[in-house]
Amino acid sequence: MPGTPIRRGDVAKFAIGAAVIAAATGAFAYTAGWLSPGRLTPTRLVAALAPPGGPALGHRRNHAKGICFTGVFESNGKGAELSRAGLLAAGTYPALGRFNLGTADPNAPDATVRVRGLGLQLTAPDGTLWRAAMIDPPFFPVSTPQAFYDLLTASHSKDPEAMKGFIAANPEFGTFVGWAKGAPWTASYAEDAFNSLNAFIFVDASGARHAVRWSYVPQATVTPITDAELTALGPDHLEQEIAQRVASGPQRWNLVITLAEAGDPTNDPSKVWPAGRRTIDAGTLVVQKIEDERDGPCRDINFDPTILPDGIAVSDDPFPAARSAAYARSFNLRTSEVKDYPYNATATTGAKP
């Protein structure tokens, strides 16, 4: 306003308004975590997965070694008592999945990796998805996502006391170490059981909610072996073996749903529920065809365990949210590293059936 005098009161209002904008900008920076270097963010959690030499670019940041498959889930309809999810109504639904090893190294020899996993996507006729990522230990090593981050940090630390300090602070990890040292190995993915570990809520047709965990239990006969025997079979035995086994006939796992009883811990996957809980066999996963891992149909799938159909929801277990956040970060990283992924490279691991 040329010529119009500016009033003091207006200047004050302008200053107050400017202060509000500045405060909002500060709040935005705080919300983004820029002012909180100690906050456990997906970025930090995923960075902690990387071995000291750095991550394998272009690959999943964990469970990097694996092999893809296709098949079907044959639901027998018994799960419909607990969940109104269409995939638990009787029927046969397409399945896409990936057997994998819990390692950040896509070339790790099989016998060096204690934890095996199963990523799975079931597709309902209406297109809704049920994705899951399960592992073979009967319980998770730690109680909270923060403890998982602390475990990664301690295990990559050069300080010889770091692991001792971690175990002292997280006694539940001792139980896992006992399993890791004592549990038998198998020579085949087809002989492994894969467990949700996290508790989820099944919502039935009446709206009632049931806390559950589930496992895919193999129909194949389990032959326990030692890690030395697995080492002798070669570094990539599991992929070669499952490819041959599926080529000679489909492999099956039963979906066994376990119902919690009042008081069973749903917020801590390191705590096993007591024996004798009611279980429901809801159907059969049939693995019909091993697919290429490299550039195969699993490559672009983020097996985020919070991608759930109506009728299945997360519980008060803190892990699925943390996993969803971290898996998204891992997915963003690897999809941006296309040039580092061995596209169409000759598979060195017998990944082709």
């Binding site: 306003m1 040329p2 119009t4 500016i6 009033r7 207006d10 200047v11 209002k13 302008f14 308004g17 400017a18 904008i21 909002a24 900008t25 709040a27 935005f28 919300t31 983004a32 975590g33 909180s36 906050r39 456990l40 963010t41 997906p42 970025t43 959690l45 209406d126 297109g127 809704t128 998805l129 996502p145 672009d300 799938i301 983020n302 985020d304 919070t306 991608i307 109506d310 997360v314 008060d316 803190p318 699925p320 949210a321 943390a322 969803s324 956040a325 971290a326 997915f331 963003n332 999809t335 941006s336 296309v338």
Partner: protein
Amino acid sequence: MTASAMTRNAVTGRSTSVTPRFSALQRLLHWLMAACILAMLFIGVGMNSTVTPKYLPLVETHKTLGFVILLLALIRLAVRLVVGAPPLPADLPPLIKLGAHLSHYGLYALMIGMPLLGWGMLSAGGYPVVLLGHIQLPAILAPSDALHTVLWNAHFYLAFAFFGLIALHAGAALFHGFIRRDGVLESMASVSAPREATRPGK
């Protein structure tokens, strides 16, 4: 507050050069969307910096609110094209006028573009786009690593540009309202009865 602003304008003689206001519908859409978009930006940076259980409801809200903003923005654009906007003060320097026009093109582009980038990014990433936990939207792109990366980066960096542009927009509104006192702030900020019905005090 508005009435007193009017009074001051009357005293300074500004109210005689009456600038028409935005229509009531436009003002409603503006302030409703301002609240939605600010919430959206905070939810966006908040969800990307946490691994706590609130991550999941934040993401779900982000998707749902994003779709609502897209619908509101399209309605708003249509209303703007039909109803138009009050002219800027004639004595506004040409460079500021240009800045005002460009920033508004930018705001409209972001209001419509950001939800589409988010939707496209999820589609390219092979994610289902589910609102309110059970309304599934169709994918608008086929899965593609390269597209996912481009769209994700655009969505991420443009969010900060959006926040900056909103801060600039709010600063400019304050400048119009309290330094220039040219009626531009009142054309959108006023919630009182139309100007003709207001009796300027002397």
